[in-house]
Amino acid sequence: MAEALLSVQGLCKHYGGLAVTNDVSLDVKPGEIHALIGPNGAGKTTLIHQITGTVAPDAGSVVFADKDITRFSLPRRVHAGLARSFQITSIIAGFSVLENVALAAQAKSGSSFRFFRAAHGEAALNEAAREALAEVGLADRAAIIAGALSHGEKRALEIAIALATQPRLLLLDEPLAGAGPEETERLITLLRRLKSRYAILLVEHDMQAVFALADRISVLAEGRIIATGSTTEIRASAEVRAAYLGEEEMPC
């Protein structure tokens, strides 16, 4: 079995008396899509924040590519190769689509304390940005202002931004949220294509997409991982059905 790229061990986070993250362990191996699902209020967002570095855990560790990154800031984690997308679309609306991605490429290409040359004229950055945009199917939208993109296009742009940071692992926080059926179809195809090159930790509410894409699934309920396994194992798990009971239909 391949060594895990991302390994979360015994993560705990309390808000007052509430254990939002309760001894959570999970790992993501190179080339796999590991999906994290769970009912609303299960603590997915808080867990993601601890993995990406915006919330510090009370206990436990986050190891990425054999480096303990538990105390790393968000920017340092990105430099280590951990890229994320946001649950609520987060792009720089006033920048062009190209500049959004070129900014990410810039982070990976030498110092940004350069003052003399106009950044929009840097061919290497623009080239890297165009490549990432082509990957997600936004090549012909490069010149327009990012705020003018459709919702689905913005989601794709976020993925292009993540790709331009040359990550080893993509942490996608509900990449399909709010996308229409056609856009969802396109994004699923894209994610399937990316999977061969990047490890992906996927947080998603769209169960159809999760079961279509994931190699493994972890189920979070009330701050704890109640099950981890292949799609068939998760489908069969009684505990998982119980956790979802009364909230939403278990798929399949």
Binding site: T52, T54, S73, L74, P75, V78, H79, A83, R84, F86, S90, I91, I92, A93, G94, F95, E99, A102, L103, A104, Q106, A107, K108, S111, S112, F113, R114, F115, F116, R117, A118, A119, H120, E122, I161, A164, T165
Partner: protein
């Protein structure tokens, strides 16, 4: 050929008028005095616009950095040190250091807190200057001499000083525009619009913002050196929040999104404050409401107004 933007064209026109002023009947001393004030304040406003509009750091203590530059001139003057080879490095270093120390703390905060903390630092500088009894205290300090340039008294030549101020204004505009377009500026602009996104592609905004703050403060300090020379006088009011507020106002009046807006804003501001007193002694009763109306009804400042007219 890319189309020249209206705001840039207008600013270039203003600069051309200033450049030709001595030759088109505007060379009288009272004009040149007004132009010097206009250009120096415009340069300070451009550096503030770089900070507010570019980096998203709304400082309400920008005049303090300007005052530090002016006081460097005054304090050295009191010790009979007036040559530019001493005055300039000392003023630069003082303004940069002041900005570095206050910025290092202020930039840890955001939004209203940032405004309040820069205001507080500005007032600290103001009261410090007021307590400098040896250098005039509350009353201010009148310079013995303008700064000498390698021993020559060129600064006292009004035409030379006029072009020095014009050159400095163009320098500030060009430098800030270059910085905003660079990699450094791209990170600043990104962090202004969406700090979380900027961090999520791998940039910690703090060092970028701090450098922007020090750069703007240093430019303001240089403007202060010129201002002290223009008035041959330095007073605590140069650092006070009223002056900081005026600078902010110039930036907003012209249009926050563009550096050229700060120049246009400063020009209109100084023209109004020069012209209105000739109408009535109670000119501030007109000036104040006029400023409020301008902000209320010209969203996007003069530039936004002009753009809307054209469109």
């Amino acid at each position: 050929m890319p189309r020249l933007r209206l705001d840039v064209a207008l600013t270039l026109l203003v600069l051309a008028v200033l450049a030709l002023a001595p030759f088109i009947g505007l060379g009288a001393n009272h004009y040149l005095t007004m132009f010097a004030r206009m250009m120096i304040l415009a340069a300070a406003a451009v550096s503030l616009s770089f900070l507010v509009g570019g980096a998203g750091l709304a400082s309400l203590g920008h005049a303090a950095a300007m005052g530090v530059g002016a006081y460097a001139v005054a304090i050295l003057d009191a010790h009979r040190l007036t040559d530019i080879t001493i005055v300039l490095p000392v003023a630069l270093a003082a303004a940069a250091l002041f900005s570095l120390l206050t910025g290092a703390i202020a930039i840890r905060t955001e939004g209203v807190n940032f405004i309040m903390i820069t205001l507080a630092f500005g007032q600290m500088a103001f009261f410090t200057a007021s307590s400098l009894a040896a250098y005039g205290g509350d009353d201010g300090y009148t310079l013995y001499d303008r700064t000498e340039i390698f021993g020559s008294r060129l600064m006292e030549n009004r035409i030379f000083f006029h072009y020095l101020c014009l050159g400095f204004l163009i320098f500030c505009w060009g430098l800030c525009a270059m910085l905003l377009a660079s990699r450094f500026g791209r990170v600043l602009r990104a962090a202004r619009e969406n700090p979380l996104r900027t961090q999520a592609v791998g940039f910690a905004p703090y060092p970028f913002r701090l450098l922007a703050y020090v750069t703007a403060g240093t430019l303001a300090g240089l403007a202060g050196v010129l201002f002290a020379n223009a008035t041959e006088f330095v007073a605590p009011a140069y650092m006070g929040w009223q002056r900081s507020g005026e600078l902010i106002f110039m930036v907003i009046l012209g249009g926050l999104g563009r550096l050229s807006g700060a120049i246009l804003g400063a020009v209109v501001f100084v023209l109004l404050e020069t012209w209105l007193p000739s109408l009535t002694a109670h000119w501030k009763m007109i000036f104040g409401p006029l400023l409020i109306l301008a902000v209320l009804f010209m969203r996007g400042g003069l530039i936004g107004f002009l753009g809307a007219r054209r469109g």
